[in-house]
Symmetry: C2
Subunit: 323 residues, 2 copies
Amino acid sequence: MAEPAEDVALSLSELFDLARRALVLHGVSAAHAEAIARVITQGQRDECHSHGLYRLLGCVRSVRSGKVDPRAEPTVRDVSPGVLAVDAHYGFSLLAFETGLPRLAEKARTQGIAAMAINRCFHFSALWPEVETIAAQGLVGLAMNPSHSWVAPAGGTRGVFGTNPIAFAWPRAQGHPFVFDFATSAIARGDIELHAREGKPIPPHWAIDRDGQPTTDARAALDGAMQTFGGHKGSALAAMVELLAGALIGDLTSMESQAFDDGAGASPCHGELVIAIDPQRFLGSDHAAGQARAESLFDAIVDQGARLPSQRRFEARERCMTR
Amino acid sequence: MAEPAEDVALSLSELFDLARRALVLHGVSAAHAEAIARVITQGQRDECHSHGLYRLLGCVRSVRSGKVDPRAEPTVRDVSPGVLAVDAHYGFSLLAFETGLPRLAEKARTQGIAAMAINRCFHFSALWPEVETIAAQGLVGLAMNPSHSWVAPAGGTRGVFGTNPIAFAWPRAQGHPFVFDFATSAIARGDIELHAREGKPIPPHWAIDRDGQPTTDARAALDGAMQTFGGHKGSALAAMVELLAGALIGDLTSMESQAFDDGAGASPCHGELVIAIDPQRFLGSDHAAGQARAESLFDAIVDQGARLPSQRRFEARERCMTR
C-alpha cells in the first residue's frame, strides 16, 4: 500500500475543474462532464462524501465498462400535455435532467402538475441537486429512481428492489428550500461501500448476508441483500418507486437493471421519474398564505429542537461557502 | 357495565344498511350516508376493524359536535388543465371524493398526470378505498392527508404532524390492484385508541407521553405525542404530507386542524391531495409491456415468500365474500 497522500485543500472551482478534466480525459463529452462535475462539486461542498469526488471512480469505471455512451446527446419527446420523456440514449442521467428541465417547468406552470420521465440513463448521483434546482424555480419537486436489485422486500431474503431513493423539495421565499432525499433502503449503498473500503462493521438492521441472515460485515452485506428502512412501509415505498420510475415509464426495474449490467460493475442503467408542481398555479392569490403556512410548520419543528431534513447539509454548505 | 352482547352475523348489505340508517337517523343526508356506509362496509369486509363500523361512533360524534355540516353538497372547481379542487363545504370527505373523481380521471387521461385537492372536509376514513377506486379505472392513484397534530417530528418532543397517511394503488390487469395505505406515524391513531379502550399496553416506539418520554400506556400516548415510523425518513414524509395536502392546496395543516377542532373531538377537518396517473398515456403501445414488468416485480416478491402490501386485507375480503 502507498503512503496516504497529504491532504490538499481545493476551492470549489478547482474541484469542479478537476472533476471536469478527469472526465473529459476519459472520453466524456464536455456537456456531460460539466453536468457531472457540477453535481459532484455540490456533493463535496455539502460534505456528502459518498456523493462527492468519490463518485468519479464509478463514473470512469462505467465509461470503461463500455456500457455508457459518454457522448450521448439526450433528446426530448412530448408525451402528453402534462408529461415529457427525455431519452438519455445510454448516457449519464444528469445532462438528460438538465435538458428536460425547462420543458418540465413550463408544463408544471401551465398544467399545475407535470411529470418528466428520463429513460435509458446511467445513474450515480443523489437526487437532491435535482429537486433543489426545481425548487429554485419556485416549483415543488419530487423525484425517484430504481437502481440495482440489492434490497430485499420486507419478509423476504433476496434482492428485488434498488436503494430506490425518493427526493422532495419545497421552495421557500427565503433561504434554502425544504429538501429531503433518502434511500428507501435502510442506508445508501454508497455508505456500505465506504464501510467495506474502510473495513468497518455495519449495524445489523442494514443488511442480510447471502443466506438471508442479518450481518454486520459490510462485504458480506454487499454480497447479500440490503434491508428497506421502516419495515413493510419502506418496502411498500420501494415497490412504488419500481412501479412509477420503472414500469410506468417503460424502463428497467432494479432487477432488470442488474441483469443489464451483467457483472460489468457500471453505474446502474434505468429510468427516473421527476414530478414538478406549481404552488402558484394551485394557490393563485393565496400563494403567500400557503408559503406562510409552510413556514409555521417549519418553525414548529425547529422551535422544539428538532432538525429539518438537509439541515446538516446546509450547515456544511455555509461552512464551505464562507471558508 | 352491561353484559357483553351476543355476537351477531350481518351480511355486507345488512351492514351497509345498518350504517346508512344510523347516519341518516343522526341527520346525515342520504348522499353522505351512502358514501360513508360504503366505505365502512369495505373496512369491515376487509377486517380493518379500526376503519369499520367502529368509525360510526366518530362520525356521529362529529355531527353532534356541530362542526360538520352533515348535508353539505360538494362543489367542483377547475384550477388548471391538470388540477381540480373540490370544496366539501365542511361536510365529510367521502362524498367530495366521489363527486370529483370523474373529473380527476378525465384529466389524468388527457394530461397524463392530474391532481385533485379536496378542501374543507371532515376526514375519518382510510385512503385505500379511494386509491382502489382509482385503480379500478386503470389509473395509478396516490393520496395523502394531514390529520391532527398528534405526531412529533424525529428528534422532537411535541406533536406537529398528523398520522399523515400515504396511499398508493397500481392497477393490475387481473385480480386486486397493488395497494398500500400506511400512516407515516409508527401506527394508526385508531390502533392506539383501540388499545386504550381495551386497556392494552402499546409497544414503546409508538409514542411518547406528555413529558416527551417513551410510554407503553395507550392513554398516556393519546395525551402525549405519537412517533413517526422509520425515524427521520418517516418524519420527512410526514412533513411532505403537511406541505402537499395542506400548504399547497390552501388548507389546514395538522396543527391548524387541531386548533380548529378546539377540543370538540370531531373528526379532523382539513384537505386531501389525490394524484391520478394514466399508464396508458405514459406507455402508449408499450402499455402491456409495462404491465408485464410490474407483474414480474410482484412475482419476485411473492416467490420468495414475502407478502405484497394489502395481501392480508385481500385474503380477509375473499373469506368474507365466499362466506
